[in-house]
Structures are given as C-alpha cells and as structure tokens.
Symmetry: C2
Subunit: 593 residues, 2 copies
Amino acid sequence: MADYKVDLQDMNFLLDDVFAVAKDWETMPKLSEVVDADTAKAILDEAAKLTENLIAPNLRAADEEGIHFSDGEVTTPKGYKEQFAELAAGGWVGVTASEEFGGMGLPKVLSAQYEEMMCAADVAFSLYSGLTAGAIIALDSHASPELKERYLPNMVAGKWTGSMCLTEPHAGTDLGIIRTKAEPEQDGSYQLTGTKIFITGGEHDLTENIVHLVLAKLPDAPAGTRGISLFVVPKFLVNEDGSLGERNAVVAGSVEHKMGIHGSATCVMNFDGAKGWLVGEPNRGLAAMFTMMNYERLGVGIQGLGAAARSYCTALDYALERRQGRGAKATRDTAAEADPLLVHGDIRRMLLTMKSFIEGGRAFSTFVGKQLDRSKYAASEEGRTKAQALVDLLTPVAKAFLTDTGFEATVLGQQVLGGHGYVREWGQEQLVRDCRIAQIYEGTNGIQALDLLGRKVAGSKGELLKPLLTEISTFLAGDAGEWSNEYGELAILVQEVERITGEVLTQVMQGDENIINSVAVEYLHLIGYVTYGWLWLKMARAAESSDYAESFVQAKQKTAKFYFARILPRVYGLMPSIEAGAKELFAFEQDEF
Amino acid sequence: MADYKVDLQDMNFLLDDVFAVAKDWETMPKLSEVVDADTAKAILDEAAKLTENLIAPNLRAADEEGIHFSDGEVTTPKGYKEQFAELAAGGWVGVTASEEFGGMGLPKVLSAQYEEMMCAADVAFSLYSGLTAGAIIALDSHASPELKERYLPNMVAGKWTGSMCLTEPHAGTDLGIIRTKAEPEQDGSYQLTGTKIFITGGEHDLTENIVHLVLAKLPDAPAGTRGISLFVVPKFLVNEDGSLGERNAVVAGSVEHKMGIHGSATCVMNFDGAKGWLVGEPNRGLAAMFTMMNYERLGVGIQGLGAAARSYCTALDYALERRQGRGAKATRDTAAEADPLLVHGDIRRMLLTMKSFIEGGRAFSTFVGKQLDRSKYAASEEGRTKAQALVDLLTPVAKAFLTDTGFEATVLGQQVLGGHGYVREWGQEQLVRDCRIAQIYEGTNGIQALDLLGRKVAGSKGELLKPLLTEISTFLAGDAGEWSNEYGELAILVQEVERITGEVLTQVMQGDENIINSVAVEYLHLIGYVTYGWLWLKMARAAESSDYAESFVQAKQKTAKFYFARILPRVYGLMPSIEAGAKELFAFEQDEF
C-alpha cells in the first residue's frame, strides 16, 4: 500500500480560490470569531499530520484483526485506543461542536476536509468519533439544558462517544414500524425495552461511557413515523456530580460479521428496561434524529470520497512503478524491458475517472459544507433560508453520488493493480469493502434518491431545484473564455434537467404513484453528473486565474476536459432511461420476476 | 441465504427454442454420437441436483473457513474433498474431454450451463475442476501422444487436477518478460527453475497429484512472447506403469490472502530444477496456452453469470419476504404493517437489471458455446471457419461483459438487502467478493477490451466484426411483429457501431497508437449492450411462439421491453465517450496525474 498523502493543495485551492470561504466567514459573526484563512490552513496541516502519520498506517492491521466480542464486551483492534485518545486530546472529536461545551466551533466546510482525511485514513475508526459528532449535534439542537450540561462536555471532549439506535430487526428503512417501547417513570425518566440492530459503536472499549440516542415509542404514541420519540440512554448512568453511576440495562447481544469496516463494532443492542430521558418533544423524535442524520449524510458521502482518494494514492503509485507492456513508440523506455503502466490508455482512463470523481467530489462536498455553514451562520435570514434550500436539495445527492462514484473509483483503483488489487497486501481490496457500506447505511442510496426526487423536488413542485440550476446558469452566463463548448453543452443539459423534471412532475400530478421511485436513482445521478460538470468548469476557471504551479493549473484544466469528454456523456444514457418512466417496471406480475 | 435454484426452464428454453442446438448436433457426427435433446435434458437435471444439493449449501462455510497453509501443504475447507470425489465419480471433471481419454465429450453449449451452476454453487470450489478441464484441452490439443496417454486419463477421471502457471512477480499481463527457465536434460526432459505467482490450485489436498502447465524460456529463446515454451510439470513424477513416483521439485511457497474465493488456494509456486516435458513446439508455448486460455475465458465470463444468478435467488426471495414501507394505494396489503419490498419501483429496477443481465448473459454464453462447438465439430470447413470467427470476436466480450455485468448484478443483489446485504449471514456480500476476481484474472477486462478492439477488430480491419453484425442485421430484417420500435432502434445501433468502428480504424490508420487502448473498454461495452439487445429480442420472439407457461412467456417479453427502455440507453453515454478518442487521456504529463 502506498503511503496516504492528503491533497492539501487541492483543499486549499477549493477553500481559497474556488469558494473563497474565508471571505464568507468574515460576514458571519459566529464564525469570524473562531476561524480565518490562516487558522484554517494551520488546522488542515495538523489534521493531515494526524491522519497521515497516526491513523492511516494502522488501516490494514486493524482490518485484519477486527474487533473482538465476548460476553457483551467489545475489544477494538490494537492501536485504536491510543489513536482515539490522541484524537480526543487534540479536540478533534468536538471539531464542529459549539464552544459553549468545549468544542472548536469550526465551520463544516473545514471539517469536511478533515472528515475526508479521517475516512481515507481509516473509515472504520472514524465512525467512533463521527457518530459522536452527530450525536452532539442532535443533543445540542434538541435536548433540555440539563441534559446538554450532563452529556455534552464529556462527549465533545471525546471522553464519551455517541451512538445512534434506529434500526430494528424488522424495521430499517421503514422506521414507522419500530417496536422499542419507552414507559414513563415517576422521576421523569423512561424505561426503554426493545432490540436495535446494526448499531455502529454500540459497544467498545475506547471510552468509559457511551451515550445512545434511541428511537422508541411512548405507550400512547400514534402509529407510524409521527409516533416516534427520541431518548438519550447512557451505558453508565451519570450521577448529579457528573461521575459515572451504575451500569444501565443496555447490553450488546452480539456483533455483526461484515464485508468490511472490520474495526467498527456493529452491535445488536438489547434494551431491557434501560433508563433513558426524552430528547425534545414527545412523538417528534424522528425530526430530531434527522438533525443528526442530515449531518451524518454529508459525512457518509465523504466516506466514499475518502476511500477513493486513498485508493488513488496507491493506484497512481503502482501505475508509475509497475512496468508491463509498451506504450507508443516515441515514448518507450528502451533501456527497460517494459514501460510503466501509465503509458497505457486504459490505465489513464481509470486513473482520470478516479481523479475526476475525487476532485469533483471534493469540490461538491466543500460546496455543500459551505451551504451548511451559511444555513446556520449567515447574518441574514434570507441568506440562511437560501442556503438551507440548497442543503435540503443536495444532502441526498451528496450522500449517494459521493458514495456511488466513490465505490466506482475504489473498484477502478483495485483494477489498476490487476491481481495485486485482489490480494490484501496492497490494501486496494479493503477500500472497496470498506467503501461499499457507505452506499447502504444512513439511508440506502435508493432512499436518498427517493428523498431527492420525491420529498425535495416533487414535494416542492420543483421549486427546490431552482436555486441549484440558477447557481449553475448564472455561472454559465458569465464569460466562457476558451470553454464555450463546455459552457454550451452544460447550458443545454440544465434545460434538459428542467424538461425531464417537468415530465416527472406531470406524471406525478396525473396520479402515477410509482413514477418517483422508479426513476429516482437515475435522476439523482443525472443531477450529480451535471453538478460535477459545473464544478469542474468552476475549478478550471478558478485555476486559470490562480497563481498555483503550472502543473496544478494544467491538471485542473485537463481533468475538466477529460470529464466533459469521457464522463459527462453518461447523462445521455440516463435521460432516456428516466423518460421511460415506471411502465416497464410495473408491467410485471409477482410470478414473472 | 436463499437456497440456490438452477433456472432449468430458462436453460432448456435457450437450448431448445432460441438456439435449437439439438438440431445442430444432428449435423455434427462427433456430437450426434454422444448427445441428443433427451440426454442433454437428463444431464442438466443431474447437474442441477449435484450443484443445488451437494455444493451450493457449503458455499458460506467454505468461505468462512478458507484454505489452510502450512509447510508447503494446503488443506481445503471442510467438505471440498467429498465434493470433489463425487464430482470425479460422476464424470463431471471430464465433461467436455474427449471420449478417447474417458471424457463425456459433451458440447460446450451444454457444459456452459453446467459451469454456470458450478459457479453459482461455489466458484472457489469450481476452479479446481475448471482449471483441470482447461489443462486437459491444452494437453489434448498440443501434447505428444505419450504425454497425453500419461496424464489425460487420470485428469479426465478427476484423480489428478491441472494448474496453469503463467504469472511471475514482475510479469502478469506482459508474459513476454517472464524469467522462468527450462534447461534441456539428456533424457529429453527439462529442468524448470523460477517463481510463479497467483497459481490457482497450485497446491491442495483434493487429489493425489497435480499437473502443472508452465510457461518458461528455453536457453536460446528469442526475447518476448515468441520465446516462450509450454511444459508439463507434475507434482509427483509418473512412472512408466502410471503409478506415482518421487516428488518433483515444485513447491508452494505461500498462499495469497484475498478479497474472496477463500476456498481456492492461490499459490506462489517455486520451481527449483523441477522436471518437466515440453508440450508442443519450442517457443510456441503462448499459442498452446491460449488454447486453454480461450476455453477458460468463456468459463471465467460464466463466473460472473453464476454469481449474479445466485445473488438473484436471494435478492428476489428477500424482496418477497421483507416488508418495509408502502406501495401504490391500490396494491397495499392493509392487513400487514408494511408491504413487501417488491412494491417499490427502485427494488424492481434493481431486480430487473439483474434479471436482464442474467438471462441476457445466459443467452450470450449459450450462443458463444454453440459457436465453440461449431468451430470444432461442424461438418464443413466453411461452417467451422465461420463459427471460429465469431468465437474469436466474442471470447473477449464474453469474458469481460459477463463479468462486468455480473459484478454490477451482485452489487445490486447486495443493495436490495440493505444492511443485511453487507453482513455475511445472507451471503450476498460473498458473491460480490467472489465475483470481483473474474474481472481481473485470465486477462483483466481491460486486456479483453484491447484484444477485442485491437487484435480482433482493428487487426482484421473490421472484417471480424461483420459476422456478428450480419447475424444481428439478418435477424432484424425478419418480421418485427409488435416489436418494430425495438427492431428499428437496434438496426440504427448496428449502423452506429459500424460508423464508430470506422472512425476508430481511421484513427489507427492515421497513426494514432493510443486510440485503441483509450476507448477499448467503452467499445467492448457498446458491443456487449447491442448484442444483448439482439439476444433479448431473439428470446422475446422465441417465447412468443413457444408453448411455455404464460408467466414465462410474459416475463421474457416484459424483460426485453425493460432492457430496451432502461438498460440499452447506456449506449448513448458510451458512444460519445468512444468518439472523444485518446486526446484527453494523453494530454496529461506524468506530474499532472
């Protein structure tokens, strides 16, 4: 496996030259207090050191060892405890948490870069702190002051971690039918009883306590998703003075044996009259949990990006070192018995596909991160609302498209190595296995697509799509320089997106109940490819007027050209498939499958 | 994991109604002696019982246990020995081998069905007999009568297995630079010295002997691929009387730890002056090995098909059993708290994509199998030549397209199960891991594409493409019935393939040395999708006039419609990418990656 090298130059280019985030921060009081361009750079440098030197080298050993489970106790792989302690000591667990509870209060646009590094270094390990960060947000947004005071400081400090208990054996996507019960007690607490599965970090040995956020139903709760409440259920009860009290009745019953992320403990959690406290309003738990989910979803998207970035390091290294076959006559290294793989067109196609997904994806996650910051911190309500609309639209796209392209990229990164990509030694196969889960959990990518086309686009009668298309069209209305072909093609594609969206909305209005879920995945990909097209042009133009080294500027422009020539055409396959609608899928009787 | 059920009905439909192979056999003396429609059916029934009941149930346990390696010895997973013994006893190892050496001498079009079953049941296990079958063919075609007499009967009987020793640490795709040496001895044998890696079944405990086919260089061999010879090197030397003699100097030095196919021993083989015998002419070893490779390549393609077929069994089962969410109002099962997954459009999209790849792929492998039989057994030389041309063209397509679509299908089959697809229990993740290697070994799919567009299409100045396109066009010139839209679209696509092929050939003639390898993978996919389009129409029309149950006929027609509406449009994304050519890929300097 090649050493993991963070692409700091590209991250700084995005923050400074493409999205000018420091200027943005100046307009947002809460952020201008804690961060400016210089501190941002220093933080990224530190994060790169931490992930490259401390975490990344343990990736394969941790996968080989995996977690150990015995009698309800989880032992994490060698090195994880020390890694987590260092993470906590550096304040990295609370990187986006409010300063009130000891957090750094950094903008998401910055933590998105740090998250990419963590996911590239070891995504299984990153989940312990990543879910904690999500739980912190959910508590900070919805819990009572007393609960916040009791839990947040230790979570932010990385002394305790958080977990997210949603799924039950019979209820994954469909949370409306969960059965875990919460019975009110005299003292204002609740007794929780039920079984939760697929609980990441539900049990482990990294910290002295684990704070579970649990969805459950009150005795009088209405059926469906409007009858779900959110509870905080600590592994150890917390005394008035903040010290740890007795063990709560929540125990890991078993752990899953998975395709990948072997260092992450995925637990069955049994709640057997466990003591918990209500977070937020009764029966409003799903909304509260979605605060956390929405934060996590960009983070899960970034898992795809991180895996791809790591895979690229090894694939490029291998393509430069490994010699097989011969390139074009003029370029042959006749002193050697063969040329480096990089001379071959198909190797270049694979590497550049990866590169266009990685850098396009990094630009995308940075853009969405910037909107998340604006939605929270922008000075004007109008600014916050506008950004929130983009966040609402793009969160499912970020989760699904970053992981779908991330998975494709890691598979290509494995393919570049041939047989060496299939053996564990080189690490490429692990990235494929680790990356695969990101297309599944936190709402499968099919569910993300349904969220995008159903709840967001159709739910707003197309209104929510407009801010994105306006952003792209406004850019395209500017001077095209030497990019008039690409500007022209993308402008037509924006119109095509509008046209196809209109067609789908018409079918919805005509009562086709199946149309949305029948074309949603292709639709999400269409939006993804068009958005990356815009971002690649944005990057190419920003590079033109930057003072980066010529090779960096050239690489950006050439990759943009590559993206338009070789990747973007995929939309011409997607569009007819969307236009075909639901008909062919629902022509089938059950016994015809 | 759902039970594996062989789709015998579809196999019989292809053999009888779509390709009428029994009629074909009647015209081929060698085949008409051994097989007719009734024996073929009986053989498929037996094969289905064997694979469903004996082999398929051990799939996951064998993966979990994997092989054991110690001191040069490999122990295979529990059950493999008994399975292999039963396979050998039933004559299944020599299913296509000549009767002269005890084989069944069955046509490939039939063994292709059996191979699909084996690959679906346990591809790792299937490799031990699959490589033996390939080695049998290579020996039968190229070895001296004495060598054949010495090795073939025991190999055909499954008493000994075969291996294929090509790759070396520095030489995988590029076999021209191998270093293993063969020094001639006084007695006409050779001493082989060198290291081979990635040797499937290089060592194991299933049989008393292993017959290695080894590529090596004679002392005076010219450089490159024209200086490679083929040798047979047994693990135990074979005495004149056929009994086993002393241990040969070939030892497994280690085994690989891989992403999947854990039941298959992938060995580093050290030849330390091992005794071997030349197979065929000196320096013509690569051609001889390609006899085996070409046989294997369809077999490796079928690995993708088998994995997909197995994955579909579980995915469909799960989609029928698992209840989450609600379908369209009229179809809701209001007595239950949720509807089966099958009501959801995106679940249908995933299942039907799988189905269209599996049945389309089965038709494709059957078609290629039929041509392999004709190329060998057709009564007239013209018939053999015509079939051979199709085999030459379609072998790389079969290997790469069946495994690329097979991998996509297994990934979808995993996605249908959500989180349950990621845990080992359900078996879907294993199929993804096991299937992945088929895109890599026996020539990566990139190399297959290069073979198709470079050696076959460009190498024949486009001539070799004609028999396929003629076959399709002739079909399309027939009565379209109610399929005139599909016939019309496909006819235009055939013209597009011709046009794009012409463009590529022009660039080759103009001296672009990089064009072939820059667009070959997309080109192979284009050929694959168009060919599947033709096969789907062929199946739909054959079903129309068959007397199968209405649900079978309907399913074939509806899947054909689905394929044209939702899958075939992918060609509209591929074509512009091919037309973009090599330019964007070769604009990059090394430091711009």
